[in-house]
Amino acid sequence: MEDVGSIVAFWVLSVVTVGAALMVVAVRNLIHAVLFLILSFIGVAGLYITLSADFVAITQILIYAGAISVLILFAVMLTPRAARDNAETFLQLPGLVLAALVGVTVGAIALVTDWNEATRGPFSETAAAIGEALLDKYVLPFEIASVILLAAMVGAIVLVRED
């Protein structure tokens, strides 16, 4: 990926994604944190597009920005005003250390390892290929995923049912 467009797009989107993720940590208001989380999701979707994964990018926007974030917003609104801060627990420092260690390790592995990159172009069209793979090679996981969704739906309804 050497053309100017890809490089500019990558850097802009990475900065947006990571910056928004950092703001999720930094802001004090939980609603603001959710809004930054949405921005981060959209940035990731943009990164998918630079990787020519159009179907996944659209799915990302549809599910993450459109559905999961709305769910989170709903959950925030259903809790009392007093519980809407974004403060840290006493585990702040250990958490920071652990996160930094994991980040450094993964990053180092990513940089050091020879990934045996294939010199190949971008995908031309992924939607049809994904569809075929889902109903052919991955048909069992596909079914299991739908069962999981059903189970989660039933579970969520049972949990919050008022009776």
Binding site: P80, R81, R161, E162, D163
Partner: protein, 367 residues
């Protein structure tokens, strides 16, 4: 396991599109449900009752225009009836007929507004209201033809009416009365059979008859609860005992029934108008009374079936040209009292529809 949510207060009004003025409804909500409702009135208080004590009986007629400014004719009528009772004045027959004609036209105009704004409360975007305005305009044209004013008519006077009708009134009125049944059928096709209006107002804001009677409501609100009561029949005034008409009543006491009662009253008013215009006798329309009336000491209460319910004026005279006490039994105010019992347990949209179905005018509530 129920949701523990913090109750919160929503102020519907005084600045709100659907409070018909400056009424304030303070709703305490538990989530979506209303758990308590407090009515706050008085934003439009103009001290009419006290002001009237400083003026002569004739000077007080324009005040009554401004109570329920959507049915000025009925207000004039009720007040003048009270003074006539106090004085013992007999009104000529033509005057009584003219009063009935004007009062029924006023009823149509008022119910047109009430139904239109009720439909607005149900969420229609102005269309029924505008259609209703179309007919109301024609009625107001008739008023203008007769007394020069459209809204604050000041037409009914002590001892009769201020002017006899002009020659062009009868053709115009007859034409309008001919046209109205067609219009009412049009409204029914738009609103009565509208499924959305039905689900929005059916079984919403139910007022049981016991409560309706206990709260001394009147008019379409009482009749919507299935109580057969109408002052035009119970205590006939003017010439209503000579006219043939029916009283519409509902059977469920919900918003839809109140709406149905109003819709049917339009038809009945048209029936009354047909007869009254037909029977209108010749002669003088009013008797001469002195401008500075000095009624004998005593008290009088006169009531009529105003469009919104029982409108009564209670006057106490001490023999001077001014009333010693001037009290208004205003239907809007009293019909509003059971609102809390009607809206508790409902949601905000339902509360708004319920308020719309009561048909209040704040000028009359706050006086």
């Amino acid at each position: 396991m129920t949701m523990k949510s913090e109750p919160f207060v929503v102020n519907v009004g005084p600045q709100h599109p659907s409070t018909h003025g400056v009424f304030r409804l303070r709703l305490t909500m538990d989530g979506e449900r209303i758990v308590d409702a407090e009515m706050v009135m008085g934003y439009l208080h103009r001290s009419v009752e006290k002001l009237a004590e400083g003026r002569t009986y004739t000077q007080n007629i324009p005040f009554t225009d401004r109570l329920d400014y959507l049915s000025a004719m009925s207000n004039n009528l009720a007040y003048c009836m009270a003074v006539e009772k106090l004085m013992g004045i007999e009104v000529p027959e033509r005057g009584e007929f003219l009063r009935v004609i004007m009062a029924e036209f006023q009823r149509i105009a008022n119910h047109a507004m009430a139904i239109g704004s009720f439909a607005m409360e149900c969420g229609v975007w102005f269309t029924p209201l505008m259609w209703m305005f179309r007919d109301r305009e024609k009625i107001l044209d008739l008023f203008e033809m007769t007394c020069g004013a459209r809204l604050t008519t000041n037409y009914v006077r002590i001892g009769g009416v201020s002017f006899d009708i002009p020659p062009e009134f009868m053709p115009a009125a007859t034409a309008l009365v001919k046209e109205l049944p067609e219009r009412i059928a049009e409204y029914e096709s738009l609103l009565l059979e509208n499924e959305i209006i039905l689900v929005r107002s059916r079984d919403v804001g139910v007022l049981p008859p016991e409560l309706a009677i206990a709260a001394s409501t009147s008019g379409p609100v009482l009749r919507g609860s299935g109580v057969m009561w109408d002052i035009r029949k119970a205590d006939p005034y003017a010439v209503y005992d000579r006219l043939d008409f029916d009283i519409p009543v509902g059977t469920r006491g919900d918003c839809y029934d109140r709406f149905l009662v109003r819709l049917e009253e339009l038809r009945q008013s048209v029936r009354i108008l047909e007869q009254a215009l037909d029977m209108l006798p010749d002669g003088v329309a009013s008797v001469e009374v002195p401008l500075a009336l000095r009624p004998p000491a005593g008290e009088a209460y006169a009531r009529i079936e105003a469009p919104k319910g029982e409108l009564g004026f209670y006057l106490v005279s001490d023999g001077s040209p001014h009333p010693q006490r001037f009290h208004i039994r205003s239907p809007s105010f009293i019909n509003l009292t059971p609102l809390r019992d009607m809206v508790v347990g409902l949601t905000i949209p339902d509360a708004v529809v319920t308020l719309g179905s009561i048909d209040i005018v704040l000028g009359e509530v706050d006086r």
